[in-house]
C-alpha cells in the first residue's frame, strides 16, 4: 500500500457528488479512536468501512507473560467504562480453571458491584448517545448519577475508573462501614432520576423521529453476525448470559430480560433503559439477602493451573464478554483470547447503517455502545 492511500479502504465511486468522508479517529461521536470511512452521496451514506486498532496494546499477549492473578488489573483497561465487569470475568475464569471456592458473601458483593457497573455503563451510554443526537442536558444529568456509582466504587475498592475491584478467590476487603447505607440511599434516589430521563426522551417527538426505524437489524442478522447484549435483545432475542449460563448467584435472583421486537435504535434505547430498572431490582434483592461470612476463600500463594483449556463468559453491559484461557500447566496462561462484545457488535456497522443519513451514523454508533479499549484490546 502506498503511503498516500493508507487506510483508504473505499475508493470514490463513479457517480457525481459521491465522496469519501473520513470520520475519526478524532471525531466527537466516535467515542474514542474509532475511524469510520464513509462513502456518501451528499448526506446519504452509501457504504462504510471501519478502521480500528488505534488503541491496541496487545492485551492478549500481555496475559501470556503474567501470572494469573497479576493480569487482573490489566483487564480494567479493556472496557474501561465497565472495568468491574472485566475484572469479574477474569477472576471467575481463573477460579474455574484453578478450581477455587468463593465464599457466599463475596458472590453477593460481586453481583452488587457488577450491577452497579451496568448502571454506570448504561448511564454513560445514555448521556453520550443523547448528546450525539443533540440533547446536551441529559449528558450532565447522567454524569451526575454516574458520579454516585463511581463514589461507591471508590468507597469499596479505592479507585473510580480502573477499579481492580475483585481478587481471584473473592474480594480484596469486606464492605466498609456505611457503604451499604450509601448504596441504599442511591437505590432510593435513582428511580426518580430514571423517570426524569424517560420524561426528557422517551416520548420526545424529535427523539422518536431520530431513533425509530434507524439502524434496523433483524433477529436472523443478529445471530449471523454473532451480536450480543442489548443489540440482540433489541431485535427480539432474549439472550442474557445471566440467565442462560448463570454465574455467581444470578440463578437465585428474580429479574426480567427486557426485549423489543423492532431492532432499531429506539428499541435498543428502551432495552437499556429497562435494564437499568432490572439492575435496581437485582441490587435490592442482593442487599436484602446479603449473608455474613468471609470475603475471600482459601487461595494458595503460588497459583498453578492444571493443563487444559476453558472459555468463560459473562454478560457485560455491552454483551457477551468472555475469556478463553489455554493452560499448559504453568503459572501463566499459555494463550488468552478475549471475546469482546464491542468488537463483534461493531462489525455489523455496515449492516446497521444501510440507507442511513450522515446524522444516523452517529446515532447508530451511539446505539451499538462501543468502548474502544475493548474493541482494540
Amino acid at each position: 500500500m502506498e503511503t498516500g492511500t493508507v487506510g483508504a479502504f473505499l475508493e470514490p465511486g463513479e457517480k457525481e457528488g459521491d465522496f469519501i468522508l473520513n470520520m475519526g479517529p478524532q471525531h466527537p461521536a466516535t467515542h474514542g479512536v474509532l475511524r469510520v470511512i464513509l462513502r456518501t452521496e451528499g448526506e446519504n451514506v452509501v457504504d462504510c468501512d471501519s478502521d480500528i486498532g488505534y488503541l491496541h496494546r496487545g492485551q492478549e499477549k500481555t496475559a501470556e507473560n503474567l501470572p494469573y492473578v497479576e493480569f487482573t488489573p490489566y483487564t480494567d483497561r479493556l472496557d474501561y467504562i465497565a472495568a468491574p465487569a472485566m475484572n469479574l470475568t477474569w477472576v471467575e475464569a481463573c477460579e474455574r480453571l484453578l478450581q477455587l471456592e468463593v465464599p457466599e458473601r463475596a458472590k453477593y458483593i460481586r453481583v452488587i458491584i457488577a450491577e452497579l457497573t451496568r448502571l454506570a455503563s448504561h448511564l454513560l451510554w445514555l448521556g453520550t448517545h443523547a448528546m450525539d443526537i443533540g440533547a446536551l442536558t441529559l449528558f450532565l444529568y447522567c454524569f451526575r448519577e454516574r458520579e454516585m456509582v463511581l463514589d461507591l466504587f471508590e468507597g469499596f475498592g479505592g479507585a473510580r475508573l480502573t477499579t481492580h475491584i475483585f481478587r481471584v478467590g473473592g474480594l480484596p476487603n469486606d464492605l466498609p462501614k456505611g457503604w451499604l447505607e450509601d448504596l441504599e440511599a442511591f437505590l432510593d434516589l435513582f428511580p426518580s432520576r430514571l423517570s426524569d430521563y424517560h420524561k426528557l426522551l422517551t416520548k420526545n417527538r424529535i427523539w422518536l423521529r431520530r431513533t425509530k426505524g434507524i439502524g434496523v437489524v433483524t433477529a436472523d442478522e443478529c445471530v449471523d453476525w454473532g451480536l450480543s447484549g442489548p443489540l440482540i435483545r433489541g431485535s427480539g432475542i432474549a439472550l442474557d448470559l445471566r440467565r442462560k449460563q448463570p454465574y455467581e448467584i444470578y440463578d437465585r435472583l428474580d429479574f426480567d430480560i427486557p426485549t423489543q421486537e423492532e431492532g432499531d435504535v429506539y428499541a435498543r434505547y428502551l432495552v437499556r433503559m429497562e435494564e437499568m430498572n432490572q439492575s435496581l431490582r437485582i441490587l435490592r434483592q442482593c442487599v436484602d439477602q446479603l449473608p455474613s461470612g468471609p470475603f475471600i476463600g482459601k487461595v494458595p500463594k503460588r497459583l498453578k493451573a492444571p493443563k487444559g483449556e476453558l472459555y468463560h463468559a459473562t454478560e457485560s453491559p455491552r454483551g457477551e464478554f468472555g475469556f478463553y484461557i489455554y493452560s499448559d500447566g504453568g503459572t501463566q496462561p499459555a494463550r488468552v483470547k478475549i471475546r469482546a462484545p464491542s468488537f463483534i457488535n461493531l462489525q455489523a456497522l455496515p449492516v446497521l447503517i444501510r440507507g442511513a443519513l450522515l446524522a444516523d451514523v452517529v446515532a447508530v454508533i451511539g446505539s451499538i455502545d462501543i468502548v474502544l479499549g475493548e474493541v482494540d484490546r
Binding site: 465522496f19 468522508l21 473520513n22 471525531h27 466527537p28 461521536a29 451528499g42 448526506e43 443523547a130 448528546m131 450525539d132 443526537i133 443533540g134 440533547a135 446536551l136 442536558t137 450532565l140 444529568y141 451526575r144 426522551l201 420526545n204 424529535i206 427523539w207 423521529r209 431520530r210 443519513l357 450522515l358 446524522a359 444516523d360 452517529v362
Partner: protein, 364 residues
Amino acid sequence: MLDLLIVLGKIAILVGCLLGGAAFLTWVERKQSAAMQDRIGPNRADIFGFTLWGLFHPIADGIKMLVKEDLRPRFADPYIFPIAPLLAFFPAMVAFAVIPWGGTLKFGAEPDLLLIPLQLADLNVGILFIFAVASISVYGVILGGWSSANKWSLLGGMRGASQMLSYEVSMGLSAMGIFMIYETMSLAKIAQAQGDLFFGFIPAWGIVLQPAAFVLFMVAAIAETKRVPFDLPESESELIAGYFLEYSGMKFGLFFMGEFIEIIVAGSIITTLFLGSYQIPYLGPEGLQIPGLELWAMGPNFIAILQCMAFLVKTAAMVFLLQSIRWTLPRFRYDQLMKLGWKVLFPLAIANLLVTAILCLLLT
C-alpha cells in the same frame, strides 16, 4: 452638524449595546445552561480576587480570541476564507439599524423643538431591509464552509445555506400578516400602531392579532439563528463544528459573536412585530391611562425612557427563551428539518396569510 452628532451617538449606543450584549449573552448562555444542568458554571476568571459571578469570563474570552494564533489551513482559499466571517458578522449588526427601540425624546420648546426618535433609520421598507441584509449572512456560512477546504465544513455550509433559505421563506410569509394588519412595512409605524387598544382594553399587539404567525415566526427565527433543534450546520456531534470548523482566533470570534448578535436581532424583531415593540400597555403620550382610572401624567422624556426599558426587557425575555430551548431538545435530522420547513411551516404560513387577507377584506 447636530443631526450628524445625534446619528453618530445612536450608532455608538447601538454598536456598544450589540457587542456588549453579545459578550454578555455568552455569559448568560453558560450560566443558564449551568443552572439547567445542575452545574455551577464559569466562576474562575477574576480581577484582584473579584469574580463577579463569572462576568469576567466574556472579557477573558475576548482577549483570548484576539491574541490567539490565526491559522489558515494550507488548502483554504486565501481571499474568501478571511472574508467569510465578516460576511457572517456585519449583516447581523446592520439589521439592527431599522429597529425602533423607544419613542421620541423631546428637548427644548417651539420653535427650536428637538425631536430625537429612538431608532437609527426609519426606512419605509423596514422589515424587508432586515430580510435582505440577513440573507447576506448566508454567504458567510456557505463561503466559510466552502473556502476552508474541509469536507465537514463544506457539509456544514451546504446545510446552513439550504436551511436558512428554506426558513427565510416561512419567516417572511409569517411576517406578511403583520404588514397586512398594520398596512405598513415601516417598523416605526408598526411599533406606533401597537400602542392602540382594542375594545378599549386589549393592547393591539401583533401576538394578539397574529398568534399563529407568532409561533411560525418563532420557529423560523430559531432555525435562522441556527440553534438547537435546528443547529445542523454546526452540529458538533456530527459535523464537529460545521462551517467554522477551520477558523481560529478572531475569525472564529466573529462567527461566534455574529451568532449571538443574530439572537439579539431575532429577539428584537419578534418583540417589534409581535410583542408591541417598545409600547407599554395603557402608557400613552401623556402618561399612564388604565381604563376606568385617572390619567397618571408623565413627561415625554420619562415615557421615552420607560419605553426604551420596556423594549429591553421584552427583547431580553425573548432572547432568554430562544437560548433556553437549546438545553432542552435533541436535534433534527437534515431531511426532517427540510420536511418541517417546506411541508409544515410553509403551508401553515400561507394558510395564515390567506385567513388574514380574507379577514382584512371582510372587516374593512
